[in-house]
């Protein structure tokens, strides 16, 4: 583990900010001097996981780089809700070019910094899952294989939300979207499709790959901070619920994200040079149904119950738990 987990049993969560901790152990978000890189006043929906993820991640990068940061943004919700001209929620130098080129644009920023000898300034590129796993994938793979000094952050809300909830290569099995409608036989997104970008990133052999969740702020910040201690191509894939597209309660965003982790559907891992080096163990695996039932995009699985699909999704979670040994049997596998 990249940090010592402290659980507060009063609330049962790893609550944001945790002011019960010693000051040194508090999150960046809990500090008075956080930079509010993505400032308040932007136009994200209630309960937007992506807005939280971006704020958490970029404030941690700012702290790690002593505010020497340039951010590049792909087209998408994050770009649109943060920058309707002439307003901007960004307190950092920020460049938006296109939907599919953020990794290449960031490579260019990094190259200019090398040319000018300003390597104290660091570069983060960010985009949603559509920008990352689909339309920008070529540029992302190029940035990885060149090992350009860029941290790329994917905020994965598992569909094209900005255009009104359409399927992406990251949309989970059986999920309703507007292009995987919950009608006909086998409603929702097809089973057995989609891509796992953290593993594809690992296959490039880049220095650092991690997954994180807005449900675990300490872990997210620790991974972002660690990534900034490394030079070269780095990739962090953050799971960010979207109440609009997932048809979940905006007040339940953190809970939904937490259940994705605790069910095993979204494993939290770290990898260096293509090898998994760490994972966050699950104290008690919850059935995937608990996670799915909170989201209207899966309601067709329950009325009537679609046992084969539920079993398939449970098998995916179990597969992740097996793959990363997320529920260690005794003796404990904590390294």
């Amino acid at each position: 583990m990249s940090y010592q987990r402290v659980k507060f049993y009063q609330t049962g969560t790893f609550t944001v900010g945790n002011r019960l901790l010693d000051e040194a152990d508090r999150t960046v978000q809990a500090r008075m001097d956080r930079t509010n890189s993505l400032n308040s006043g932007h136009r994200a929906c209630q309960g937007c996981g992506e807005a939280l993820g971006a704020r958490y991640a970029l404030d941690a990068v700012m702290r790690a780089t002593r505010n020497q940061l340039v951010a590049v943004n792909a087209t998408g919700c994050l770009e649109v809700f943060s920058s309707p001209y002439p307003e901007s929620a960004w307190q950092i130098p920020w460049l938006h070019s296109l939907f599919g080129n953020a990794p290449a644009v960031a490579s260019g920023v990094a190259a200019a910094l090398r040319a000018k000898g300003k390597t104290d300034i660091r570069v983060v590129a960010q985009g949603g899952d559509g920008a990352t796993v689909d339309i920008g994938f070529g540029c992302l793979s190029g940035m990885f294989e060149r090992n350009d000094d860029v941290l790329y952050i994917c905020y994965d809300n598992e569909a094209y939300m900005n255009t009104g909830v359409q399927r992406s290569g990251s949309t989970p099995a059986r999920a309703w979207t507007n292009t995987t409608q919950a009608v006909g036989t086998e409603p929702g997104n097809i089973l057995g499709v989609g891509k796992n970008l953290p593993r594809i990133a690992m296959a490039h052999g880049i220095p650092y790959v991690a997954t994180a969740s807005v449900a675990d702020l300490h872990d997210l910040e620790a991974k972002v901070t660690k990534s900034m201690s490394i030079r070269g191509a780095r990739y962090i894939h953050i799971h960010v619920p979207c109440p609009l597209g997932w048809k979940s309660d905006p007040a339940q965003t953190i809970k939904v994200a937490r259940l994705a982790v605790e069910s095993g559907l979204f494993p939290l891992i770290e990898a260096e040079w293509g090898v998994v080096t760490d994972r966050t163990c699950i104290r008690q695996q919850i059935p995937v149904e608990q996670y799915l039932a909170l989201q209207g995009r899966f309601k067709h699985l329950f009325n009537p119950r679609d046992e084969p699909s539920l079993a398939s999704i449970q098998a995916m979670a179990d597969g992740n738990i097996h793959l990363y040994n997320l529920v260690p049997t005794k003796p404990a596998m904590e390294s």
Partner: protein
Amino acid sequence: MKQQVEGSQAVAQAVALCRPEVMACYPISPQTHIVETLSRKVKAGEIGNCQFLNVESEFGALSVLIGASAMGARTYTATTSQGLLFMAEAIYNAAGLGLPIVMTIANRALGAPINIWNDHSDSMAMRDAGWIQLYAEDNQEAVDLHIQAFRLAEELSCPVMVCMDGYILTHAFEAVDLPEQEQVDAYLPLFEPVQLLDPQDPVSIGAMVGPDAFAEVRYLAHHKHLQALEAIPRMSQEFQDMFHRTSGGLLKLYHTDDAETLLLALGSVNGTIKDAVDDLREEGWPVGSIQLCSYRPFPSQALRHVVHNAKRVVVIEKDLAVGQGGMVSSDVKMALRGLPTIVDTVIAGLGGRAISKASVIDTVKAACLEGLEEPHFLDLNWVAINRELTRQAEQRRSGPAPENLLREMGLSGGKTV
């Protein structure tokens, strides 16, 4: 110093003299020799601390430059044809963001059918993207236009394409006068960006603009091109003062003063056209020619001023607006509206078809004596076309037309139907 050098090598040396800081490149013929040479120069440490990135696509190449330019670096790439189209989204984006990127276009046809030889279909497809487009007549001008292009781009904060005919120029060995580093340094000041990604002074670049201001932002892009109409001749003049040769400008004129018929073209075909003008004049035809060096911005006023006494302008263009005719001649007609001048469109040189002096002379005579159909296709094999049209009319599943045509023309094996 004068050297006998390949066009691509000359351009690479000129670009190196401009001290680029970031180059991102992707191979595509006939542009590749340029970036190969630049990659060697960067690796050998001949271009300061310049960064050379081998990227995964042309779209990636221009995207890298967008980031680097916004970070304040002088940026360069080269492409052509399909590569330019693959960049298309970033082409518009770079112009919209007002980033002074310089790019060489080694002009080449667009497929299908795939064709690697020269015409202007590629850069013409991007003519309205907001980039300045300069077309070189020969390799000396290609060299000189690159030096002017960096200055023009950076003064206006507007990207510039320097277009040179693929193979005809890129692969031609000619005597080229390559300037000294001190001369180029004196002509081309350091890049001072108008917008910059700077942690000390954070700004948001590339924000969303709605209906309330979008038209005004677009007007400003147009206004830049209006400024370029003044800046291009000024920089050409200053270049002449410093380097003692004429290169660039909006138009270059050849025997236009007393001409009743003017030929107008872009790029290397102007050499052939000037030879045709000489021959026609010897026969007593009052003709002249205009090289359109700046296609975007389009120098309407300058052209109108040159043409106003002529009876006829014959536009010879290496592109085809399918379903319409000629792109350049449309712009010429727009520029000359209200004048009695006849404007003919001659579609020529597509996919590398040679434009011969004899064909140019015959076409000019035909235009003057009988008039031309609109548009006129130079040296088209009507026999083969009519046979293929007949085949298609008779047979629903007539197969791939290019292959049929090649058979008709006896250019490939297989049975002739």
